[in-house]
Structures are given as structure tokens and as C-alpha cells.
């Protein structure tokens, strides 16, 4: 186990390196640049800017310089938020995104698994139909629709909750963006759980558990659900990575000062360093969560262990 984690962490280094390299050059091949504004800058200013940000040097040098700095934790200054380094921007925004994303993940995971299990136990009943219909709407309706609708109902019409902002970080501010973030993922978890629970409930060892008079709750939770969680756990990694790194749409709608918007802003403004920052951020989350999931596989199913 220890060796396994160590090996995986070691393999993260080349993974990150490849991600950084491809992203770096990919970005530079895209047309446009950070200072190509709608009204072109005077050539002299442009030249100064390019020099200031070392953009006048050959691409290779820039790349090597970036790598060198990145290793020491220096991801350079942002081009659009001129007074901030990337590390500052992400350092400031990330706690908000992670906190919100974490609650959303919990809601999506537990809500989805519970709801999906109920649907599976009542397969083809009205309740199943109802739950799966709501789940379908959850997957279908994009959060740029869910967000405003939630605000409209709870903030504007009912005046129950604030329409946006982080405020003091209490649940009143978090609840609407959390729901908007979690709903589509909750629906995915619910559908995955339902499908594999139905399969799980048909196995022979479930019959054994029933034959031994174990209460239905135990049969379902300890015996059927554990095996059924495999696809849910598989989806956990990309889902967690996506939720914890923030969502541009939800953070914009609810004016949350997270990192989600940097993904879009960085790309649109060709803020190279900001994009690289977000890329590294996502890569780290993806690598860590894939590792977590691979460990979870082993905990969940002993047959997967001896590999």
C-alpha cells in the first residue's frame, strides 16, 4: 500500500511534466495573445509589455524558464490581474472553490447513492419513475439555468436566502450555489447507483444474506451496495476534480470569489500564466483523486487488490 502510493506519486512527476509541456505549446499555437486588445496597443507599448513578460524571447527559452520557475513554485505574474501572481490568485480563490465544491460533492455523492438505492429497491414502481425523472431533469437542465431559477425562487420571490456572494461563509450563502453545483452530479450518481444496485440485488450471496434473516437494511447496505458502488467510485475521481476546482458558471451567477472563473477568463484573455496555473491545479486534483479512487477500489473489493 505504502509502496503503491509512493510509486503513484513518483509517476505524477512525469505526468505533470507532460501536461505542462503540451499545454504550454498548445496555448502558444492558438492565435491571439494576452495584449491583443480590441483597440491595438501602440507598437512601443506592446514591445515593452512583451519584454516585461519575457514574451519576446524564443519560445524554447520561455518554456525552459517557465519550467525552472514552476519547479520552485513560482508560476509567474498574471497578465490580466496585473498586480497578482498566479500563486496569489489561486491561493486566494481556491479555498472558496474547494469548500463549496466539497459540500457539493458530499451532497451529490450521498444524495445520489441514497436516492439511487431507493429507486433500485422499488424498481419500476412509481417512486422509481419519479426519482429517475427528477434525476433526468438534474442531468439535463444545465446549471446556467438551475442557478438563476434557484435565485429567482429563493432569493427574489421568497427572500429566504441571499442571491449571491460569499458573505460570512455561512450555509445561507453556500446553499444555493451548492445545490446548483451538486444537482447534475447527484443525478449521475443516482443513475449509476440504481443500475448497479439492480444488478447487485440479483446475486447469489444476497440470497444467502436473506436466507440468514439479516434485516433488509443490512442486506442492502452491507451486501448489495458495497459491490454496487464500484461504478460510483469510478466516477468519483473526475467528479471530485471538477467540483473542487470550481465552476465558472456557478461562481459567476452567485458571485463567488473562487477559481472557477479563471478557467474561462484565462482562456479568453490569453492569460498564459493563468491558464498554466489552472492546468497544473486540475492536473494535481485529477492525479490525487485517481489515486484515491484506486485505493478505494482495493478497500471496496478485495479481489482487485492483488494486482
Amino acid at each position: 500500500m505504502f509502496h503503491f502510493v509512493l510509486r503513484r506519486l513518483a509517476s505524477a512527476v512525469p505526468t505533470l511534466f507532460i501536461v505542462v509541456t503540451i499545454s504550454f505549446f498548445l496555448m502558444r499555437f492558438a492565435p491571439g495573445g494576452p495584449f491583443n486588445l480590441e483597440r491595438p496597443l501602440p507598437p512601443a507599448t506592446m514591445e515593452n509589455l512583451m519584454k516585461a513578460y519575457h514574451l519576446d524571447q524564443p519560445l524554447w527559452n520561455q518554456y525552459l524558464q517557465y519550467l525552472k520557475n514552476a519547479v520552485t513554485g513560482d508560476f509567474g505574474p498574471s497578465y490580466i490581474y496585473k498586480d497578482n501572481t498566479i500563486a496569489e490568485l489561486i491561493g486566494k480563490g481556491l479555498p472558496y472553490s474547494v469548500e463549496l465544491g466539497f459540500y457539493a460533492l458530499l451532497l451529490a455523492l450521498f444524495g445520489g447513492v441514497i436516492v439511487g438505492t431507493i429507486a433500485a429497491l422499488r424498481q419500476n414502481s412509481f417512486l422509481d419513475f419519479l426519482i429517475m425523472s427528477v434525476a433526468t431533469i438534474g442531468v439535463t437542465v444545465p446549471n446556467f439555468v438551475v442557478g438563476p431559477v434557484l435565485t429567482l425562487i429563493f432569493a427574489v420571490l421568497l427572500s429566504l436566502l441571499p442571491a449571491g456572494g460569499w458573505g460570512d461563509g455561512s450555509w445561507r450563502f453556500l446553499i444555493l450555489p451548492m445545490i446548483a453545483l451538486a444537482l447534475p452530479q447527484l443525478a449521475v450518481f443516482a443513475r449509476l447507483t440504481r443500475g448497479s444496485m439492480i444488478e447487485g440485488l440479483h446475486t447469489d450471496h444476497i440470497r444467502t444474506a436473506r436466507a440468514y434473516g439479516l434485516p433488509p437494511r443490512t442486506v442492502v447496505i452491507t451486501h448489495a451496495m458495497r459491490g454496487a458502488l464500484l461504478p460510483v467510485v469510478s466516477y468519483l475521481a473526475p467528479c471530485a476534480a471538477a467540483l473542487l476546482t470550481g465552476s465558472a458558471v456557478v461562481e459567476t451567477i452567485f458571485t463567488i470569489p473562487g477559481v472557477g472563473r479563471y478557467f474561462v477568463l484565462g482562456a479568453i484573455n490569453r492569460d498564459y500564466t493563468l491558464v498554466m496555473g489552472t492546468v497544473v491545479l486540475v492536473a494535481i486534483f485529477v492525479i490525487v483523486f485517481n489515486l484515491v479512487v484506486d485505493i478505494l477500489y482495493g478497500l471496496l473489493d478485495p479481489r482487485v487488490r492483488h494486482d
Binding site: R207, R210, G213, L214, P216, D301, R303, H306
Partner: protein
């Protein structure tokens, strides 16, 4: 017929029906039976006779499309139509069950210790920790070696026989009033079979527990049961005491069952017969204890320097108790797992062959698996399963040709060709085993390793399968390695016997010599246990 007030279980007019896309199937057509306290009632019949479904129906364990009607009273308490909650007070505590399929009846995700403890925890209201002492005791009782270590094993780390013992331990945990045992000793070797049956009888005497024994093994029935119910096509054909049934059977069907003990013997091939498959100094090591959180591997030698030489038309029987390495040896000979040793097939050295090099030879070297259920893919129809080998090894065949071969193969093993369009889970253990044999035979192989191929079969079918295997052997000059714990079958099938213990050969020789004059003590015990039982 009125209820029997004294009975532990009193069944009246019990019907089990299944709704299928092809219409309703009446699996059990209104049967009556009584189980008296402390007695052993054997329910015998061929596969498909409804003997298992009767018990499933009573216990509320039918598949979703199944319905049960009629009456089944446990000590006067009606079980049919009872709520799950009320039924759960009886199930696992007063009435327990042992299932036919030891491979799939245990949850693969939990240690066996936990699974045995579960019914204790739920019915006695103790903690898992408190239950542990009892679990260890039970594991010892059913003959699991090193219970302190094995308590933390997962089902997939145990052999079929050991898993069945775990099931039995689970069934005995709460000292039930009634134990329903569906082919309980089928997967066990004779020495343990006798021990388990003795143990069951012991507990039966101590606690006055009644046993319903569903089996095809008339040897066990005769030795162990007091009364017998013979079932056929969902109906009770005949019932009576052991004496009545064995000495004065009334129905032809019962007579047919009784006559089906394996018989005959096999003569040795000529001395000049070419050697088909040879394995010299076969040694197999397994890494065990390599848990998820510990990377320390201890090595365990499953097969230790065994040499096997199989001639054309020869049948070598390999006997030994579970864990003796006989199944592992079979797989090593087919190069299905990493092993050391020299291997030759038809004078060709195949020692260094990797999987790709072995592939074309697989057609000639077939294996029939011990566990007929686990080895059949749940999402393939029986037709797809048995023709799969043709697809690989005779790709020129058309669909219709393959289908014809499938029909022929199913008929050969005594199955209805209509079975092609159904799924493995719809068949009983015996039927699945026949499917597995059909899958191997359809390829017309030269060497077949049969790993407990008849252990799940009814005696009547067992006789047919043995006949079939003999016919095929004569017709196609086949060579068999026959791995079994059933000495009666080994005696009837093989001309040469290898006795294994702890990965080593303790004794080998011509079948007659081994059975008539065993030299080694272990062999003597084996033979003694087997024929003492009858």
C-alpha cells in the same frame, strides 16, 4: 391431509410457479411433506425436479418472477405469505440453509469471519467482537485449518470445499431447529464429507435439530437420512423410510435412481501407447498473505515436484482432499498458471510456451472447471457459451453449422437443445456442469482435464456422463486427467490413480492395485472413509 402437529416443518399443497416470457412454469405442483423434530429427511430427485425450489419457496427466497402458494408451517407458524420482518425472525436463527454453489453464495467483498458472525450478531444481539470466539469455534468445528488466520480470508482465497465448510459453519452458528442443506457435501472430499456428516449428526443429537437434505448422492442418503422423499417434475413420486425406499422401491423412477451408482472399470492402455501430455517436476508457488496494506509476501508451495505422464486413451485419476493441490496441478499441466517444470505435449516441448504460443494448442487441451456457475459468463446464452471455442478454433464454420454442433453437443450431454437460448443462471448445478462439459467436448480435444466434473451431478446423470466420457474416449482416442474426491467415480473411470496430499504424490499406481492394496496410510483412510459411507 391435515397438518402434523408434531412436525417441525409441515408442508401442504405447496406450489411454486414462475412467470417466464414463454408462459408460466409450474416448478412445484402441490406437494405435501413433514419434517419431524430431530429427524433427517432426504429429498432426492434429478435436477429440475423442483426439490430446491420447494425449499426456496418456503424460505421466501424465490427469484422475482417466482410465486409460492399453499402452506408451510414451522412449528404451527405459517411461513407462506409472511412479511419479511416476521420471516427474518425464523430465517438464519430457527431455520438455516446451506446452498449448492459455494463459490457464489458467499459475498466476495467480506472476510469469511465476518460473514459467519453476521447471523450471530443479528439474531443474538452481540457485537462482532463477541461473536469472534464463536466463529473460531465454528471454523474449528467444520475443519478449517488455522482458523485464527483463515478467519480473515476472503472467499476467493479459499477452495470450493473450504467455502462450503464456511457455509456450514454459518448454518450451525445459531444452533437452528431445522437445517436445510442443498447438496451440502457435494463439493467436499470424502474424508471431510464423512466428518461433516458425523458432525451434523452429532449436533442433531445434541440439539434435536431436524435436517432436510437435498441431494442426489444416494450413498449419503442411505447412511445419513431416516426418511426419503423422491421428487420428479415438481411432484412427490414416493416417500418412505430408508428401508422402504432402498429395499422395496415401488416406483420405476426410484428404481432407476437406485440403479444409477457408477459401475464398470477401465483397462489400462497398451504399453506402447504414445505419451500425450507429460509434466515433469511440476512445482507451483503462490504468494499468499500479500494483503493490501502489507506488501510482505510469503510463498506457499501448492504443488511440489510432481511428475505426471498421460498416455493416449489413458485416464489418470487424481484424488486428495481439498487443498492438496490437485486442481492446481491440473491447471499447471495446461500451462494456465505460472509454474516450474518440464512440459511436453505430443513429444513437443512446450515448457517455454507463453500464452500466445499455447493458444493454438488449447483446442486439443481442454479443461472442464470445477465450479460450473462461476465459469460460465452470465451475459452469454448457453448457445454462445458452448460454441465460443468453435468460433476461435474453427472460424470457417457458418452460424448454422455452429448451431447444429451446439444442438448435437447439448444432446450428447443430455440437455434439451432449447437450452441454447437461455442463460446459465436459469439452470441447476447439474445442468450447468453438463453445459461446461459440452463446451469442452464440442471442440473434439485430445486431452481433457476434468476438475470434479461429476460432483454436482445426480447419480443417474453421473452414470450417463461417465458413459458419455467413456464413449468419447473410445471414439476419439481421448486422454483424461480426472480430478475428483469421489472415489467411486475415480474407480469407475480411471486406470491409473495418483493420490495427492499437501502438493506431493503420496502414492500412485494402477487403479486396482491402489483400491485393493493401498500402501500409504493416507490412501487407506481415504478409501476407508469412502466405502465405509456406503
Amino acid at each position: 391431509m391435515t397438518d402434523n402437529k408434531d412436525a417441525v416443518l409441515s408442508v401442504r399443497g405447496l406450489k411454486v410457479d414462475f412467470t417466464t416470457p414463454d408462459g408460466d412454469v409450474n416448478a412445484v405442483k402441490g406437494i405435501d411433506l413433514d419434517v419431524l423434530p430431530g429427524e433427517t429427511l432426504a429429498v432426492v430427485g434429478e435436477s429440475g425436479s423442483g426439490k430446491s425450489q420447494t425449499m426456496m419457496g418456503i424460505m421466501g427466497l424465490l427469484a422475482q418472477n417466482g410465486r409460492v402458494a399453499g402452506s408451510a408451517k414451522y412449528r404451527g407458524k405459517e411461513l407462506v405469505g409472511l412479511s419479511t420482518k416476521a420471516l427474518n425472525e425464523v430465517r438464519g436463527s430457527k431455520i438455516t440453509m446451506i446452498f449448492q454453489e459455494p463459490m457464489t453464495s458467499l459475498d466476495p467483498l467480506y472476510t469469511i469471519g465476518r460473514q459467519i458472525a453476521e447471523p450471530i450478531v443479528h439474531h443474538k444481539g452481540v457485537s462482532f467482537k463477541q461473536a469472534k470466539v464463536r466463529v473460531l469455534e465454528l471454523l474449528k468445528l467444520v475443519g478449517i485449518p488455522e482458523p485464527e488466520r483463515r478467519i480473515n480470508s476472503y472467499p476467493h482465497e479459499m477452495s470450493g470445499g473450504q467455502r462450503q465448510r464456511v457455509m456450514i459453519a454459518m448454518a450451525l452458528a445459531n444452533e437452528p431447529d431445522l437445517l436445510i442443506a442443498d447438496e451440502p457435501t457435494t463439493a467436499l472430499d470424502v474424508t471431510i464429507q464423512a466428518q461433516i456428516l458425523d458432525l451434523l449428526r452429532d449436533l442433531q443429537k445434541r440439539f434435536g435439530m431436524a435436517i432436510v437434505l437435498i441431494t442426489h448422492d444416494l450413498g449419503v442418503v442411505k447412511h445419513f437420512a431416516e426418511r426419503v422423499v423422491v421428487m420428479r417434475r415438481g411432484e412427490v413420486v414416493e416417500k418412505g423410510t430408508i428401508k422402504d425406499i432402498f429395499e422395496r422401491p415401488q416406483e420405476d423412477y426410484t428404481k432407476m435412481l437406485l440403479a444409477a451408482e457408477p459401475s464398470g472399470s477401465k483397462s489400462a492402455p497398451e504399453d506402447k501407447a504414445p505419451i500425450m501430455l507429460e509434466g515433469r517436476n511440476v512445482t507451483v508457488d503462490f504468494a499468499i498473505g500479500g494483503g493490501f496494506f502489507t506488501s510482505a509476501h510469503t510463498r506457499f508451495r501448492a504443488v511440489d515436484g510432481v511428475t505426471v505422464r498421460l498416455k493416449q486413451r489413458q485416464t489418470i485419476g487424481i484424488v486428495g482432499e481439498s487443498g492438496s493441490g490437485k486442481s492446481t496441478l491440473g491447471r499447471a499441466l495446461l500451462r494456465l498458471l505460472p509454474s516450474n517444470g518440464q512440459y511436453h505435449f505430443e513429444n513437443k516441448n512446450i515448457s517455454g510456451f507463453d500464452r500466445a504460443a499455447m493458444r493454438p494448442l488449447r483446442r486439443e487441451l481442454q479443461l472442464v472447471f470445477q465450479d460450473p456457475y462461476g465459469s460460465l459468463s452470465p451475459r452469454q446464452t448457453v448457445g454462445e457459451i458452448i460454441t465460443e471455442g468453435l468460433l476461435i478454433h474453427e472460424p470457417q464454420l457458418s452460424r448454422a453449422d455452429r448451431d447444429k454442433r451446439a444442438i448435437a453437443a447439448l444432446k450428447e450431454v443430455g440437455l434439451d437443445p432449447g437450452a441454447r437460448n437461455r442463460y446459465p443462471h436459469e439452470f441447476s448445478g447439474g445442468q450447468r456442469q453438463r453445459i461446461a462439459i459440452a463446451r469442452a467436448m464440442i471442440l473434439k480435444p485430445k486431452v481433457v482435464i476434468l476438475d470434479e466434473p461429476t460432483s454436482a451431478l445426480d447419480r443417474s446423470v453421473q452414470g450417463q456422463v461417465i458413459e458419455l466420457l467413456r464413449d468419447l474416449q473410445a471414439k476419439h482416442d481421448l486422454s483424461y486427467i480426472f480430478i475428483s474426491h469421489d472415489l467411486a467415480v475415480i474407480k469407475a473411470m480411471s486406470d491409473y490413480v495418483i493420490v495427492m496430499k499437501s502438493g506431493k504424490i503420496v502414492e500412485e499406481g494402477q487403479t486396482d492395485d491402489i483400491f485393493d492394496a493401498p500402501q500409504h496410510d493416507y490412501t487407506k483412510t481415504l478409501i476407508g472413509a469412502a466405502f465405509d459411507l456406503d
